[in-house]
């Protein structure tokens, strides 16, 4: 995720990331190199359903949570 003129700053799991302008959720998940089948994504407090990942583009300042299941009781 190199910086350039047409970059968008978003927060992913609390840390700032820069992605190219127009980056979708689907693309973000790909860039994060996480197992896409095993994460869910929330954008600004709302779940982004998996079927809409390809169409939802990120905006400057978006707060994203990318979560998965871990061991718990």
């Amino acid at each position: 995720m190199s910086t350039s003129m047409s970059m968008t700053k978003v927060k992913v799991n609390g840390a700032i990331h820069e992605v190219e302008a127009g980056c979708t959720v689907a693309r973000l998940v790909e860039l994060l190199e996480v197992s896409s089948a095993r994460v869910a994504v929330e954008r600004n407090g709302e779940v982004v359903p998996r079927r809409r990942w390809a169409e939802v583009a990120l905006d400057e300042g978006d707060a994203l949570e990318v979560v998965t299941f871990v061991g718990g009781g």
Partner: protein
């Protein structure tokens, strides 16, 4: 015990009355084996931020979705709102409406915030979740949660991870008399006999994590808990002898040699 003694939860039938957590194991291999030996068919999982490092092992590799129903929890949430947000993500992720609703009220004891739990339950039931709330052993709250449509109530036996066993069997008994939904003892079970006691009281199932994962030999303890839950359930159905202060001979009292 006939085949009809299944554990019915939210319209589904289960053979096992032991629900186990997946936290605190040494590694995924141990998790997988402990689940297997426990005989559980429902396993709880937590939802956390994914680690942004490639190649992380995933808990889901250890859990065969054909074999186990996932029960996501909202552990770590302190308000109804946080719990609802977590529930939404869990549903998206797990493709399940099952939810262990847990709203904590105190960090040190992990006691539930019963008020927030009830508030969250009302919303989540309306949104179609199958809500299993972790609560204190409060019969009035249990009835309210049943009234708003929870699929079961899950009173704690003792603080999470404390291993203190069933601290107050009287309250569990009263909850059992009060609600019609299943009563699942959640938290506090320390050893096999604790689990048996819960079932003997008439509770429908037991949920535990630390009692197994924290044992010196978690795999053997998983078996112990499986067997204890079965034993306790059978004892409940078999109808134990009443308690008496005095004795009652088991050998005949006549026919003695003289």
């Amino acid at each position: 015990m006939t085949q009809s003694d299944d554990f019915v939860l939210a319209g589904k039938r289960y053979r096992s009355r032991l629900i186990v957590g997946t936290g605190k194991y040494r590694d995924l291999a141990e998790t997988r084996e402990a689940l297997s030996r426990s005989g559980a068919e429902i396993v709880t999982v937590a939802l956390r931020r994914v680690e942004l490092k490639p190649g992380q092992p995933s808990l889901l590799d250890a859990i065969d979705p054909q074999r186990y129903a996932l029960l996501p929890n909202t552990a770590g949430c302190y308000t109804a709102q946080e719990a609802i947000r977590t529930a939404h993500l869990a549903r998206e992720l797990g493709m399940t409406d099952f939810l262990k609703l847990e709203v904590i009220g105190d960090q040190r004891t992990l006691f539930p915030d019963n008020e927030e739990t009830l508030a969250a339950a009302k919303v989540l039931v309306k949104e179609g979740f199958t809500v299993l709330p972790y609560i204190g052993d409060d019969p009035v709250l249990a009835r309210k949660l049943e009234d708003v449509g929870c699929a079961a109530v899950m009173p704690l036996a003792a603080p999470i991870g404390s291993g203190l066993g069933i601290r107050n069997p009287h309250n569990l008994r009263i909850i059992l008399e009060t609600v019609k939904v299943p009563v699942i003892v959640d938290a506090g079970v320390g050893t096999a006999s604790d689990a048996a006691v819960a079932l003997e009281l008439g509770c429908h199932a037991v949920l535990m994590n630390t009692g197994i994962a924290g044992a010196r030999d978690p795999l053997l303890m998983a078996e112990a808990m499986r067997d204890a839950v079965i034993a306790g359930r059978k004892a409940f159905l078999a109808g134990r002898i009443p308690k008496k202060l005095h004795a009652s001979a088991s050998s005949p009292e006549s026919g003695m040699i003289e």
